[in-house]
């Protein structure tokens, strides 16, 4: 039986994280997985236009204002795996874990050094504490290097065994065509 995967992002506008997630969603084995994208704000999308992939638009400019609609949508779709990218969304998901279906596995992909990201948050201390309390609610965290892994361990409470290193990838077939 196919596993249902939901990929979620704040937007699908241009950006590295959006590009990586779009690429994975498009290329993942569709015989094994049913793929759905849940995006908070679909306006200005770049990478999945006219692609044969189901997208649910929550029509919310901010993650914080769309979070209840997000919970409702995830409960309705009832996926096996939820994959998110962008650290503030990853944090939100780890916070709301207990409102999501019990069978759901949470996989997050961290695209930046958390120590640098937190610096620019307006509520620096609160965010720092939340990462220290809730990040271990994730079932798996994907980072791009050993140094990145250490940064995550230093700034969150996640069990290091849940962290997997996958280098930021490049589509060599595309590059070679240029």
């Amino acid at each position: 039986m196919k596993k249902k995967i939901v990929f979620t992002l704040p937007t699908l506008q241009g950006g590295g994280a959006e590009k990586v997630i779009s690429s994975i969603a498009l290329n993942i084995d569709k015989k094994k997985y049913e793929v759905i994208i849940v995006v908070f704000d679909l306006s200005g999308q770049c990478y999945l236009k006219n692609k044969n992939i189901k997208i649910i638009n929550l029509k919310s400019k901010k993650v914080s204002t769309g979070i209840f609609n997000f919970i409702k949508t995830i409960r309705r779709v009832n996926p096996d795996i939820l994959i998110s990218s962008i650290s503030h969304l990853n944090l939100f998901i780890s916070l709301i874990k207990f409102f999501l279906p019990k069978k759901l596995k949470l996989v997050a992909r961290e695209s930046n050094f958390l120590s640098e990201n937190i610096k620019f948050q307006s509520n620096y201390f609160i965010m720092k504490i939340l990462y220290k309390i809730f990040y271990d609610n994730l079932d798996q965290l994907i980072v791009f290097s050993q140094k990145h892994k250490l940064d995550i361990i230093h700034n969150t409470n996640i069990n290091y065994k849940k962290i997997k290193i996958i280098e930021n990838p490049i589509d060599f077939n595309l590059i070679n065509k240029l």
Partner: protein, 155 residues
């Protein structure tokens, strides 16, 4: 050598970044800087990157590791970036890393490159030497393994 600068990225005409966008536009117009072009967001940056002499990638955050840097590297285009993480750009090997933003240093490096074409070729060759590290052909497989691993964990 006279450089042509193409500035990419979302510079909103409305809302966030609007003032900065207008300021840049005004400076370009007032000084008749015909060699600077505001390109906005492009969905296929690889095409522009592949034709570039150098990528200048400045950021407030210490993040010289974005996709744009890796993409440029795999095409043999060196980057000049701010930050300290040497996982991708190794200073003076396959690009330049500035610990902190400095206009003087950037001008100095651009001047150095323009006077010595071998320097750019050296950086470019070193980019190609390490590009295999970022081959994404097995990325989906690795991702599927990670998903499987998460699925096997007991909550």
């Amino acid at each position: 050598m006279k450089y042509e600068f193409q500035i990419f990225g979302k510079l909103n005409k409305k809302g966030y970044g609007r003032d900065y966008y207008l300021k840049l536009k005004k400076i370009i117009k007032e000084n008749k800087l015909t060699n600077i072009r505001l390109m906005g967001h492009v969905s296929n940056p690889e095409i522009y990157l592949s034709k570039s002499y150098l990528q200048i990638r400045l950021a407030r955050t210490n993040d010289p590791y974005g996709r744009d840097i890796i993409e440029a590297l795999t095409m043999g285009v060196p980057s000049l970036a701010t930050g300290t993480y040497e996982g991708i750009i190794k200073n003076n090997f396959n690009g330049y890393l500035l610990k902190t933003f400095s206009t003087d240093k950037i001008i100095f490096l651009l001047d150095r490159l323009s006077k010595n074409n071998h320097e750019r070729n050296r950086l470019s060759k070193n980019c190609i030497k390490v590009k295999h590290l970022f081959d994404g052909t097995n990325q989906i497989e690795l991702f599927e393994k990670a998903i499987k691993f998460a699925g096997n964990r007991i909550r």
